[in-house]
Amino acid sequence: MKSSTICREWLNSLPPTQGCLEKEQSLGRELLSKHGMPSNKDEAWRLCNFNRLNSFFSLPIINKSEDVKSKFPNKDKDSERIIINPNRNQFLNINLPNGIEKLNDKEIEENLGKIIKSTKVKNDLSVCLNQASSAKLLALKVKSSFNKSLEIVIPSIKENSISTRVFLIVEEGAKLDLLQVFLGNNNSAQNHLIEIKLESKGELTHGLISLGEEKESSSICTVAVEQSKNSQYSLHSIHHGWDYARFEPRIIQSEGEASTTIKNLQVTKSKEQIATHSLIRFEGPNGKLDQLQKAVASEYSHCIFNGSIEVPQIAQKTEAAQLSRNLLLSKHARIDAKPELEIVADDVRCTHGATVSQLQDEELFYLLSRGIDNEHANSLLLKGYYDEVISYLPKSSKKWNFVKNLMNDIK
């Protein structure tokens, strides 16, 4: 079936527009009808496996109920957890801890959609797909009085497609440790859109664990962040076990003078494809970025990284560093890494680098020469490789036991 037909049929199958996201639904559906599915002629989708992408259009939008709560590890004492169960409509009935409040209709009206517009993702398929199908919105503001960490867990549902949207304001001077967990399921697709507004002097440490772990699971996730002056945003994420996954962090320092750190790890095996398309734009001077992108591809899998950094004339004295380090563990696997720096300002320090290699022979020999067997030595080296990202994830992430799966998968 042609992709245009698949897209049209999917749009026709959606329920009528309604609720607080009615306008957004109309917008997304309109843009999808107009532009349809992307093709490999679109630069941003050039390397995409379109057969896998079709699962977002062919799987039914949730239609049955399943209690998934019991499958999760216990939460930490000093952490609050929100589970987004798309079946149960829990968005509206969450007991929020002190220091976190729901946004009222007026605040939603004033803010929603602005960040995806400013971070230039408005017409992207990932966002349109979410806008067209998301029915509920979790919209929260974090006040400076909040002193716990927060977990948002989003499981997917077998043989279904889900779409979630989260909007978060970290108010002036507030600090938040956020851990988001996405869990895949057999033959499932999930699409997430997270918009974050980081007000002046706000600090957000954002851990994101995205684990497919089951057969034929797909995920698209867009994180759009707007940082005000003197704010700090750290994104530490891991993506593993998806048949198909696309991750799009889009960050804008709207006034410069802010600090952004990104450490991202993607690990693929079998015939999986995981792609990260990041964009960081500085709209003012003295902005800082430290970005580390890591990928490990084995068997017949494919990892993609597209890293855009935009430094317009106004963003003088920007200091940005991007490093893409990749491990290719099989001659059949593939890694595409493309740094894309657009620098107009002349008084800046911007560096980038990309390496693709195998496990270092000298490191391996050192371990072997101490009597450690080949398999154990490889696994120690890989663990060390992952650690540069994993060690930055919030402590509570350990409970999700993903490191063991990572080690078991890649031999």
Binding site: E363, L367, G371, I372, L381, Y385
Partner: protein
């Protein structure tokens, strides 16, 4: 000099080896027995480090002919990890930094691999911590280095101490220490040398690869060998190293010239 074979730890005969298709070793012969300390000296590029890597089984080095026997076993058929487990230890000239791999975990896994071979019980985390802290005293090493990644951010001296710590934990029958003295100040050299002396056993042997006499002031060798052009060209006792320190390696060139003139 050759005594009964039961006392021989390492026997190298007419060893020829290459790296990247270039022959580096052109017929090395060496016999090392229990309790002995050997020093191998020679200019850069004479083949000293190559010999140590070949004994340890580095995959980049290819043995073209000859033999290496360890306690009567032909080790050329063994993988590097098997050689280490039966008691061959290589102290690296440039110990490798491995980011993200905890030094403590690395030392524990390595020690347990050797213990398994010796039919000793494997040590759990707590048992191992007690052992490693005790052995660290031999090289006056701060236990804080256990928490760091393997050799990452260690100074030259700290890396070499970490090597000797591994030797202390693995209790090998033969230790080949490749330029353990390079990059060490006088105090660090004394600590490292003292560690090597403390670890010397009547049932084990040591091969010191070095450029300088100063290490041999701290550790007295039974034999000193001089390597040139991939061969051991002269063997003597400690006096040979002292002579070498005074007169340098020029005699090698003079010998070569003499041979050329005869031919």
């Amino acid at each position: 000099m050759i005594q009964s074979t039961s006392e021989t730890i390492l026997s190298i005969k007419d060893l020829h080896a290459s790296v990247e298709d270039q022959e580096i070793l052109h017929g090395v012969n060496l016999l090392v027995k229990e309790g002995e300390i050997h020093a191998i000296m020679g200019r850069n590029g004479s083949g000293k480090s190559t010999l140590s890597k070949v004994i340890a089984g580095h995959p980049s080095y290819k043995v073209l002919s000859g033999s290496i026997q360890f306690k009567g076993i032909n080790i050329l058929e063994l993988a590097p990890e098997e050689r280490a487990r039966i008691g061959i230890f290589l102290g690296f000239q440039y110990p490798v930094e491995i980011p993200g791999v905890s030094n403590l975990e690395f030392l524990r896994v390595a020690t347990n691999s050797r213990r398994k071979e010796l039919l000793q019980s494997e040590l759990d985390t707590f048992e191992f911590e007690d052992l490693v802290k005790e052995r660290m005293k031999i090289v006056e090493m701060d236990p804080a280095f256990l928490e760091r990644s393997v050799n990452e951010g260690f100074s030259g001296g700290e890396k070499k101490r970490n090597e000797i710590l591994q030797m202390a934990l693995l209790e090998p029958f033969i230790s080949i220490l490749d330029e353990t003295d390079s990059g060490l100040d006088i105090d660090a050299l004394r600590i490292v040398a003292s560690g090597i002396n403390k670890l010397a056993q009547p049932s084990s042997a040591t091969i010191l690869i070095t450029h300088y006499q100063r290490l041999l002031d701290e550790i007295t060798p039974d034999f000193v060998h001089i390597m040139a052009d991939g061969k051991i060209i002269k063997t003597g006792n400690k006096e040979l190293a002292i002579d070498l320190e005074k007169s340098g390696y020029d005699f090698i060139d003079n010998n070569k010239k003499d041979k050329e003139m005869v031919n």
